[in-house]
């Protein structure tokens, strides 16, 4: 889980052009949207593309998206559950 979280933080920074952030500045339990990183709807879409591109995982509905993209931790859990098939 730790490895996945660290890699994910780096990928998020790259995908969303958060050039001024370092991975250690991102709290994996904090909400990604509204507070925390203050991401917007386009960022949400980019994260959806990231999950598909890097991990081959598709988010099927907006409701699923809201749950999966809540925090770095929930994204990591989604990735791990996907890997287990």
């Amino acid at each position: 889980m730790e490895q996945v979280i660290l890699k994910l933080k780096e990928e998020i920074i790259a995908a969303l052009n958060l050039s001024e952030m370092k991975p250690e500045q991102i709290d994996e339990n904090a909400p990604l949207f509204i507070d925390g990183l203050g991401l917007d709807s386009i960022d949400a879409l980019e994260l959806t593309v990231l999950l598909e591109k890097k991990y081959g995982l598709k988010i099927k509905t907006a409701e699923e998206g809201k749950k999966v993209l809540y925090s770095v931790k929930t994204m990591a859990a989604f990735i791990l559950s996907g890997k287990q098939g």
């Binding site: 917007d40 709807s41 386009i42 879409l45 959806t48 593309v49």
Partner: protein
């Protein structure tokens, strides 16, 4: 005292018809132009509905009277066809009789040809025909239209996303008001491309069943293509020719939402701003607007935002409103002009168009658009909204004469 601006001719081509007559029949019969992709080779062929103009580019060349071998984009062909219709409708035989300009608008330009070239070129850098990319630039379609019609005095191209051709109409009006030109052909053009289908799909705002503006279950927009043009003339030019204008440009307004690159502010600040400016310019009050042809794309965001702005503006007296994008799809750079043409037709025939695909009112809004075609309404002032990415919002008011 600024000169008054009159509309003396209109022309249109879209998925509901190749000209005014065909478009009028479709509107009267509530016949939408939305259907499956038939002309583009894309992986989304059977998945994403669009509103195509039902004519291949070769047929369009015939209609436009353009040589079949010439390098003209589909976008420019739409423009040539609609612009010629507008000039004919305005009974203009000598384009240089008065100081005449052309203001056009587009978002994709000649992308329909460029993307074909690119696919070949990227596989093999010695393949692909260079003539397919010379028409790429946004202003190329404008130049093609101007050259075909012989317009030389003043030519310009606007590109402000979905409000582009509404801004053309606004700019053309100002040129006449300020005595810089006597006549301006104003409008916009856009064609369907794999570029835009994929782009909007990546934003997840394409409805898989066809757009449902203002409906609770709406799920996105439907892309369309086409062109709309209007001939605007000064009072002096109209009087000299003795023609009867179709209507008057009553007012217009443009403002920036300044909220997000692509989403509208929740309370519709930008929309409210442009509508209010247009009403002020027209020396009216909101209660005098008889019908609003809404931007109404069918996205969750726009329809709620625009609906709220309309409520803020009109209070308890929200006029009849509908979105004709349920007929033509969202024609992007051409939308403002195509919908302006519908507004001019509405004033002349006293028609109000239905908002197709509407069954359920939005819980967060509590407003219902018109759902059946109406032909017995007294219309004096019609407002048309066009709101673009980048927060560029424009509203136009057409007045009966």
């Amino acid at each position: 005292m600024p000169d008054r601006v009159f509309v003396t001719g209109i022309g249109i081509i879209s998925s509901i018809g190749l000209n005014i007559e065909e478009s009028a029949s479709a509107l009267l019969e509530s016949r939408s132009g939305i259907g499956s992709i038939s002309m583009l080779e894309t992986r989304y062929k059977d998945e994403i509905p669009v509103a195509e103009v039902h004519a291949t580019s070769n047929i369009l060349k015939e209609i436009a009277e353009v040589n079949i071998w010439s390098a003209v984009s589909r976008t420019a062909l739409f423009g040539i066809i609609a612009a010629k219709q507008a000039l004919s409708d305005a009974n203009i035989n000598d384009i240089n009789e008065f100081r005449t300009g052309l203001i056009s608008a587009t978002t994709v330009g000649g992308m329909d040809r460029s993307e074909k070239f690119y696919r070949e070129y990227i596989k093999n850098s010695s393949s692909g025909r260079l003539r397919d990319i010379v028409t790429h630039d946004c202003a190329d379609s404008t130049e093609q239209i101007a050259d075909t019609l012989g317009i030389k005095d003043y030519i310009s191209t606007i590109s402000t996303a979905c409000s582009s051709s509404a801004n053309s109409i606004m700019f053309g009006s100002r040129l006449i008001e300020n005595g810089i030109l006597d006549r301006v052909l104003v409008g916009g053009v856009d064609s369907l491309t794999i570029f835009t289908i994929n782009g909007f799909n990546s934003l997840m705002i394409l409805d898989r069943t066809g757009c449902k503006p203002f409906d609770e279950t709406r799920n996105g927009l439907t892309l369309g293509e086409g062109a709309g043009f209007l001939v605007l003339e000064s009072e002096c030019a109209v009087r000299q020719s003795g023609k009867r204008p179709l209507c008057e440009i009553g007012g217009y307004g443009n403002g920036c939402d300044a909220y997000h690159q692509t989403a509208s502010s929740p309370e519709g600040d930008g929309a409210f701003r442009s509508m209010q400016k247009a009403i002020t310019k027209a020396n009216l009050t909101p209660g005098l607007i008889d019908y609003i042809n809404a931007h109404g794309t069918g996205t969750k965001n726009n329809d709620l935002s625009e609906g709220r702005a309309i409520k803020r503006l009109c209070g308890n007296e929200v006029p009849l409103f509908s979105s004709t994008k349920s007929f033509t799809g969202h024609t992007l750079g051409a939308a403002g002009a195509i919908e302006a043409v519908f507004c001019v037709m509405a004033l002349n025939h006293q028609w109000v168009y239905p908002n197709l695909n509407f069954t359920q009112e939005m819980t967060d809004l509590g407003l219902s658009p018109v759902t059946v075609f109406k032909s017995d309404i007294r219309l004096r002032y019609i407002m048309s909204n066009s709101f673009g990415f980048g927060g560029n919002n424009t509203s136009l008011i057409f007045s009966a004469c």
